[in-house]
Symmetry: D2
Subunit: 354 residues, 4 copies
């Protein structure tokens, strides 16, 4: 209710502040007898963790996960599955700089307005660190997806004005920016490096493709599949927009162009085009689900910016420290996790119908 839980049947509740003792997640509704090893989770966390390349923050957090419950002899038991990640890089540092000053683009001000109290050590609950729990929980969801032959692939579609022209899934993990186009990746990396040197930051677009999603997922009214995916993905702090299939481009198309005609391909009904992005009337149609999210440039920059103190005085701030000049590469596993969690929930909900 206070928004730390996601999902209806396959549910995850997360907790933890960036500079408290630990962060973690409790999954409820995970079906029993699902193979699950701690390495399945650690592998995904390693894709998100800081310090993984020269274009990410150099902060060191090993993000080692421990399974506390819900798994017995390598299989899920159907009971609550708890995951714990101890915070390591929470050294007693000097927070005086940000304790009494609102960082532009951050939740410092809105948090204080909401709760009347704020854990000023870093982002607290609003820190991007919170997404590690999503990735850990998403790794469990992915095990369910594997069982249903559903695959989620996310990648960096663009950084600022540089757009991936090719879409070769095989190279995504071959470059540190996670673009599906090696040539574009090189340009993106160079641009990010330049932004870092300029004490500035860059945004971009992350695209995701869901393969093998069975038709019938999603509900026809308020819980349309795209509505649920939008909820999950827009809840990632750095995301400012989302579109499915043709998305905003569909607003400039005629109906005769945008409608995907149905064809019978060897006994299976498919659409000739996929402007709908795999979802019709809020329900998956069996085609690839395609979506894109708008990732804003990180707010933490070391340039001097105008702001106010908690007591309202005008001041300047330079957000020092080790920040990501472009968060897109690290958002990729988070996007995959939120999609996996959403689909896991839809897959289980669909079982109540048949």
């Amino acid at each position: 209710m206070a928004g730390n839980t996601y999902g209806e049947i396959f549910k995850v509740t997360t907790f933890g502040e960036s500079h408290g003792p630990a962060i973690g997640a409790v999954l409820d509704g995970v079906p029993p007898n699902l193979a699950l090893d701690v390495a399945d989770i650690q592998k995904e966390l390693d894709r998100r963790r800081p310090g993984q390349s020269k274009i990410t923050t150099q902060r060191q957090e090993p993000d080692t996960v421990e399974i506390l419950s819900g798994v017995f002899e390598g299989k899920t038991t159907g009971t609550a599955l708890a995951l714990l990640i101890r915070n390591k890089d929470q050294r007693s540092r000097d927070y005086s700089e940000i304790k009494d000053v609102f960082r532009p683009g951050h939740a410092d001000m809105t948090f204080l307005k909401k709760y009347g109290i704020r854990d000023y050590r870093g982002g607290g609950r609003s820190s991007g660190r919170e997404t590690a729990c999503r990735v850990a929980a998403g790794a469990v969801a992915k095990q369910l997806l594997i069982q249903h032959s559903v695959k989620v692939i996310a990648y960096v579609h663009s950084v600022a004005d540089i757009v991936a022209e090719q879409c070769d899934f095989a190279v995504i993990e071959e470059n540190i920016v996670r673009a599906p186009d090696m040539a574009a990746a090189e340009k993106m990396i160079a641009l990010i490096d330049e932004a870092r040197r300029n004490l500035d930051s860059l945004g971009g677009v992350v695209e995701a493709v869901i393969q093998g999603c069975p038709p019938g997922l999603g509900d026809p009214v308020f819980d349309k599949l795209d509505a649920k995916l939008a909820h999950g993905l827009m809840s990632i702090g750095t995301i400012k927009g989302i579109e499915f299939g043709a998305g905003f481009a569909a607003t400039r198309m005629r109906g005769s162009e945008n409608n995907d005609e149905f064809v019978n391909e060897g006994g299976e009904i498919h659409t000739k085009t996929n402007y709908a992005g795999g979802i019709l009337g809020g329900i998956s149609n069996g085609e690839e689900i395609v979506l894109r999210v708008a990732v804003k440039p990180p707010s933490s920059i070391a340039q001097s910016q105008q702001t106010v103190t908690t007591s309202g005085e005008q001041t300047q701030i330079e957000v020092k420290g080790r920040h990501d000049p472009c968060i897109c590469p690290r958002v990729v596993p988070v996007v995959e996790a939120m999609i996996a969690l959403t689909l896991a929930d839809c897959l289980l909900l669909q079982k109540t119908i048949s």
Copy 2:
């Protein structure tokens, strides 16, 4: 759980098929002692109803609403508030054309795949007619918003390539396309008329501005204000994308440009710019909330399109009848309704904190 309910505290459950006896909504969690007259609801329904202008469908549905419970002597009582709208234009027509054929762009196929049964009389539960219940419920939510001095204004920002250059709220209801720019409105109307004559349809962008939203609404993790609004708005059948503030354009901005600097304006903390669209870290910051949704061109067009029958045979279909060539003008009140419902929920949730 099957997706016919929206909201957590201020909740609405809707029901009804386009060609069944009635549609309706039950609101739960409406605070007591809120002034409410049936005319408050009817007024909003009239803005959404078919046949309201030459550029909408000419179907006739008076959409007269009856309050069945939850209101006593002009005030809400705090108990479940039920609204009923009888279907009038459900004349026994010949459905043979669409009974066994999947209309491109519609949910016919996905519905059948999901449930194994389909009410083939029109769109059934997937019909846009369902949004009348959202508008009726949204009218109740608006009464709560008025009490909190929050105002929601939606309008047509663009139709195909024609974009409103001005944003004069005063003229929105002065033109049948609901654009905030009379000159652009004229061009939009002409283009829609042309599409109609060509048996085609047009999409567009609807923009919404929320004024007077207090800071502190929305929760920091999964139920961010933008995530909840995205859920609600993406659940409108015709919408394919959403963005807040600078949205997708933010992906091409530097952090130093996109960050909204804080300023003290006469004792109140504001931001100099509003690229964030009024939401920081998922929590309202007191600025105007600004969002845009992508509305696809309606799928029902009388042009011949390729499709398949329910038994998989290749065929052609022309979706005849009285359809909207551009749904944007009628989506405007639905967008307002979903925003009002979402904000009403957030306002009540916020009371549990203080």
Copy 3:
């Protein structure tokens, strides 16, 4: 959230005041392709309706139900299923007697304390009339139970000190008090008649047996099957207690006596005794589920009672009108309905595990 919805997957939302235009229910999560006729629902409503015998209230409410949505050609469609019952016996009567006076044992006072407003025409939302919607919704749930070969049988176990000594299910509907013992029934009827003549009322115990419940229903922690049944049954206004199996008597038994030993009966595991009442660790074990609820004597009696006015003045009240001297016979179908709704939910939830 305001408590007008019950269930998680198989959900029912009810609405309506006793003297408003109508009452009704919206079911969500009803699986598609379930055979359902309006007569299935009417039959159950007729078992609950007033005026059915000389020992019930003589008020006349035909309680005719209309299906508004969710059913197509005799089958459920999987969409929201709405049921409507128009109030007929809501004639403009003189409410001055109860408008400003709190009836002892009723919710008049607590309702006003809670909401600051009260629909003083009869019980409003607190009226026992609200249970008609539960019975209607329960009739839909029963169709799902029939599909799973689960049977719910409730009956009057005792009225005041008169206890049914026999338990012959065949005679329950053969006597107007709904006892499983014809001899006891006669005595109960006589006692109720006497109470009516004395302007007084009587309580009793309603017992229910669930046959054919598969093992595995219910969840091990907060949503134990008995906890969910207790929630549902205790939400019937007139019920003050509930027990399962040996219940309170188990508090005076030794563990060696109360433990039900397991036996293998022809390949099936059963228990020799059933003190647990069919539930172990919150999960059904395949034995008959047995429970009893305590039904208080109705609060509406025509005897003079001391009370206060809404402005706090001491006064006397005689609650005139046509009231039930013992509500037990009419509670029987309500108990069955709440059990059916609870089991339907558990049956669907269980599908998400396998």
Copy 4:
């Protein structure tokens, strides 16, 4: 959804198996700025912990709790509040005895039927150990109750046939059985001791009184205050029944006797009697809330009992180890915790109305 979460606004999710690495709880919706020290929680855990007296199990579990998040500088922050308790007494023991044999009265069989997999090390998720998390979470809820001047007092009303004749709250924690009557306590302790020596176990009744509960809590239909309390309390594994106020005794009373007449006492409306137990129409009326729960005799006894193996063979079992001969004294803090959690939720929900 899988039942590891309790509450709607003030929510708790628990996790952990009795012999896994840890158990714990995550609270969501805890209001910010509530004073909270780890000692507040530890104090309650110490009341529940094993080995506290000669009449409880001699198992040693220090149950030391760690706060992982949601508290900053001695105050709650409004974010998810996580509590962790490491299991200490989970020494590698020989489970062969219970691995393949169903213990009578336990959830071994139903668990396996439900999930098809079972953590056979002790009770796993069905262990009474799970209630430690409830007690820890309840301690947080109690801080909210203190703020609202609400007090919850539970005690042992009876053990087998020995009933506390006096009700002196001051002596409850002065005797190891937690009875409000020192003379009865002595007899209870002797009887429990005797049962232990006989390798048997005893049940009893735990009563609870809620003082200072404001009128208006609870919702009129499905979420009546008594229904919610019944759900919470019946979800404690060992409880087989619950009653409010006169409870089952009310079934033998006349309405003229059972109705609590209203009186004006110095400007406040009270009832002369309290047969209703402080709840009218599901809403608190400002009187003391009184309830009783039936606690069954523990199922783990060292006497030989008949049972079957997981493969269906008839066998004998003696459940050895260190078990509680009567769980009532340790159930007292669990009952208080579930009541505190329920009331905390109702208090916050009530804020959404005013």
